[in-house]
């Protein structure tokens, strides 16, 4: 086990236990800046943790970042670990980022689907869904990104428990989803919701369940364009951007459609590297460059959120 977040190895993949240990190290090293919240327990009873980065105030406007809702997308949890360390390193050092954290809080959920993630290490590396049991079916799990109450059950998800995009019996049926929904509703002042997936190199905004454009489409498109340009400036990684339904396909019950409908204007989904060489099996050597370039895009969106209060 790493003895500090400075000796922690960021360019390798880690188990659930190692990531949870990392969180405790980070909190212990930065007690004034970082705290660990438990927002619930997974279906199999694992704690669901969110790291809170705050420089004071009460219920400040906040930015939410989650990784790992689809457990096999290992590059996302690994990037989330790197983001957490980056935040503690840059606060007080980088002027633009310091301004963000002096005025807003950041909530980072690194392992959004702990049961699925543990299962990718123990039994099936390519497991995507939760590990909940569905009565009447021998198939396991729900696609947690089809389980949100936004176009739930519409075209763009499957009603078959055996499908990788099974939406579940009802909206928020998955405790991993309900925990986030309750947290967002209780907090009530989240201004940006950024959910990180892989792969395909895309930056997406609502909607996925309907073709209607979001009322803030022009602004979201502009922010996405700037964010993608910032990302690409580091290593030349090319991203496409646009709404989910026009850029990929119809997907119902997705998280950012729900958050946007709750009034969280800056709702985006990232699809990280790559475009189809390794897919979900992205080599660990690409963890740090992927996290570094993604961070530039996150900064762009966070700065825009700070500078455009609503």
């Amino acid at each position: 086990r790493a003895r500090s977040t400075s000796t922690f190895n960021y360019d390798t993949y880690h188990t659930l236990e190692e990531i949870y240990d990392f969180m405790d190290l980070l909190v212990a090293e930065n007690p004034q800046l970082v705290s660990k919240l438990q927002i619930g327990n997974s279906y199999e009873g694992r704690p669901i943790y969110v790291l809170k980065f705050s420089t004071g105030g009460s219920n400040r406007p906040a930015i939410w970042i989650d990784t790992g809702i689809h457990s096999r997308e290992w590059i996302t949890q690994a990037s989330g670990v790197w983001f957490a360390k980056k935040i503690t390193e840059d606060y007080g050092q980088d002027a633009a980022f310091t301004a963000i954290l002096d005025n807003m809080d950041i909530f980072l959920e690194i392992v959004t689907n702990p049961d699925g993630f543990a299962y990718t290490h123990s039994k099936n590396r390519l497991w995507r869904k939760t590990r909940s049991l569905t009565s009447g079916s021998s198939c396991v799990g729900v696609d947690a990104n089809r389980n949100w109450d936004a176009g739930f059950g519409m075209s763009g998800a499957s009603s078959s428990p055996c499908s990788e995009t099974y939406h579940g019996k009802s909206a928020n049926s998955e405790v991993e989803v309900k925990s986030v929904v309750d947290f967002v509703n209780d907090h009530g002042n989240i201004k940006a919701f950024l959910s990180i997936h892989s792969y395909s190199q895309l930056l997406l905004y609502p909607y996925g369940y309907k073709t209607e454009s979001p009322s803030d489409k022009d602004e979201l498109d502009q922010v996405a364009k700037s964010a993608v340009a910032a990302l690409s400036s580091l290593y030349g990684t090319e991203y496409k951007y646009g709404s989910i339904i026009t850029t990929i396909y119809q997907a119902s019950g997705g998280s950012i459609d729900w958050t946007y409908n709750q009034g969280i204007k800056y709702s985006f989904t990232f699809e990280l590297r790559d475009t189809g060489r390794y897919g979900f099996l992205l080599p660990a050597s690409q963890i740090i460059p992927t996290a570094q370039e993604t961070w530039l895009a996150l900064l762009t969106i966070m700065e825009h959120t700070l500078n455009n209060p609503y």
Partner: protein
């Protein structure tokens, strides 16, 4: 632990809506145990699918019979997984 020896990931290029529909029908054939990494969407949008060893021949014959172009994106999934595990163990040690 699930074994993926011989599993391949195919990248399928669909030229028109009819081909998208044809590949979508494959998705419903549960006995093939296909795992779509990138699902069928629209012409020009690549489809990536992991195919178990036992289904590879049937899937390739099916695609060729329908004139649907594909290439092998990952030759053997298990060998990549083995590399990943070795890398993790090496870094832990």
């Amino acid at each position: 632990k699930e074994d993926f020896v011989g599993h391949q990931v195919l990248r399928i290029s669909v030229a028109d809506e009819a081909q998208v529909q044809t590949v979508t029908e494959l998705e419903d054939l549960e006995h093939l145990q296909l795992d779509f990494w990138r699902g069928p969407a629209r012409p020009g949008f690549p489809i990536d699918v992991r195919v178990p060893f036992s289904s590879i021949q049937a899937v390739k014959v099916f695609l060729e019979a329908h004139g649907i172009r594909y290439r092998i994106m990952i030759e053997d999934v298990q060998s990549l997984l083995d590399e990943e595990q070795e890398q993790m163990l090496a870094s832990q040690s």
